[in-house]
Amino acid sequence: MNAARHSTGLGWRQAFGPVDAVGVEERVAKYTTRSIKKASKLWGLRCAVSMVDLTTLEGKDTPGKVASLCRKALRPHEGEDIPPVAAVCVYPAMVRHARRHVRGTSVKVASVATAFPSGQAPLRTRLAEVKAAVGDGADEIDMVINRGAFLAGEFGRVQDEIAQVVAACGPATLKVILEVSELETYDAIRHASFLAMAVIRPGDFIKTSTGKTGLNATLANNQVMLDAIRDHYLETGVAIGMKPAGGIRTAKQALQFLVAVKETLGDAWLTNTRYRFGASALLNDLLRQIEKERQGCYQAPWNFSDATEAY
């Protein structure tokens, strides 16, 4: 294991350095000024569709709702040129229902696990949940880190728990949710990113949020984590993926996140094996904007399957 393992106290600050908060915020503000039009916009929108983890994480989820989510994931909209999304993201109890609908396709089944969203359960319960989800056929596991331990300074424990989840995942891809809104500072986000990246495998992801708290993925949080991924890659050669989740609702936001990826990590990360969007409302807005580019006029939301509450 490399130097990142079990760094405690102030040692990590020397190892990874603090984050220049003002610099990060100024930099991400610039991302929102890029002018992306016509062909490049269409490319970006389609790319974003292919990166969506179409998510339903509600107490009222049913097998029927998951089935319609899977149909939407496989064929988001009529027309040949719109790719399927990357994955459907559900609770562990819904994995076997989702599995039935997407088997044999490019769409993966992702399951949140480890007592999502709080992570406040005994470790053996969390590990059992991961194994159960993988056993039911989950291709990807979204775990939450132990924020309580992290904030109490027990970094070694946080890292050991992630390592045990990695082992429990077996062949499944792991996404480590840092829940940035509960880490309070950019420094802590960067630190937690390195804690996770030291023990996960190439092709695994770090992820911003559960989407269950007030503050979700922002361009600035995303940037801090992308910078960490880049530094980790330059140091070790291990490519880690990134998944912002929660609060990304519009196509415009998605394009801004893609700008951040392109300008921080380069084209190699502009693929759904290395970058994902955790979202539910985003997909329909992406489709709406693609259709707008195609037809040249603004579209109504009821043509994109979120008509129920549309006015």
């Binding site: 603004y298 579209q299 109504a300 939301p301 006015y311």
Partner: protein, 290 residues
Amino acid sequence: MPRLPIIKTPKVLVGGAFIRSESGRVFPLRSGAGAAVANIPQCTRKDLRNAVELAAKAGPGWARRTPYNRGQILYRIGEMLESRVAEMTDALCWTRRGSAGRAAAAQEVSQTIDRLVHYAGWADKYEQLLGSVNPVAGPFFNFTVTEPMGVVGLIAPAEAQLLGLVSLIAPAVVSGNTVVALASEQNPYPAIVLGELLATSDVPGGVVNLLTGFQRELVPSFATHAHLRAITAVVGPDHARTLGLGAAESVKRLKVLPAGDVDFGDNAAQGLSWIRALVECKTTWHPIGA
């Protein structure tokens, strides 16, 4: 030392906030004598798009309010206008000359207040006249009720810059629609002032959205925007044709009033038919005894 007066920057009311155009463009408003008196936001199709999104967001809450409450709020707009008669008359007079122009402007403001009170009264009464219980040959209650259409686009006349605009807005919002209205190009200043008093009249943000700018830039986007359910427009023949083609493609209800044909001061420019033009009828069959 003489004091420099502070000149107000005209901004339009969209989604309950006062905005400049996203484009940053403005166009000069010229007085009757030809002098530039204000820089008006030159709104674009993206401002229209944003306004429609905000109108759609405000819609369900506005439609859920009781008709009585919508009536109160329309009446409140009238009250607020009454207290700003002088300011509104001045706004209308930017492009009108002489004492005759001023008298006409004052009369237009009074008529506008009356029109608001007229539709405030209709708020909890039109349903009795437009809805019905229908006779059917079977064991069913069959009744028809009206529902608001959704987001409605309005293109106000060049003349009657206040009365014409309010005569289009009031019958649309009284039934629970929300509107995006393009103000008169000739003198948009009354629409700027109207926005300021709407913001203080208990009208929820996003229910009335006002844009200023050029018809030649905005009419094509109004015509084709699929999220707009209906358009009422006072325009010339060229724009009427653009609207007709766009409305047919996006299947929206269109009412074109040829510019110059409607006298908004007349009583024919108000009433139930103006409300009926912007509602949908829903008919329900309900088994008797169930």
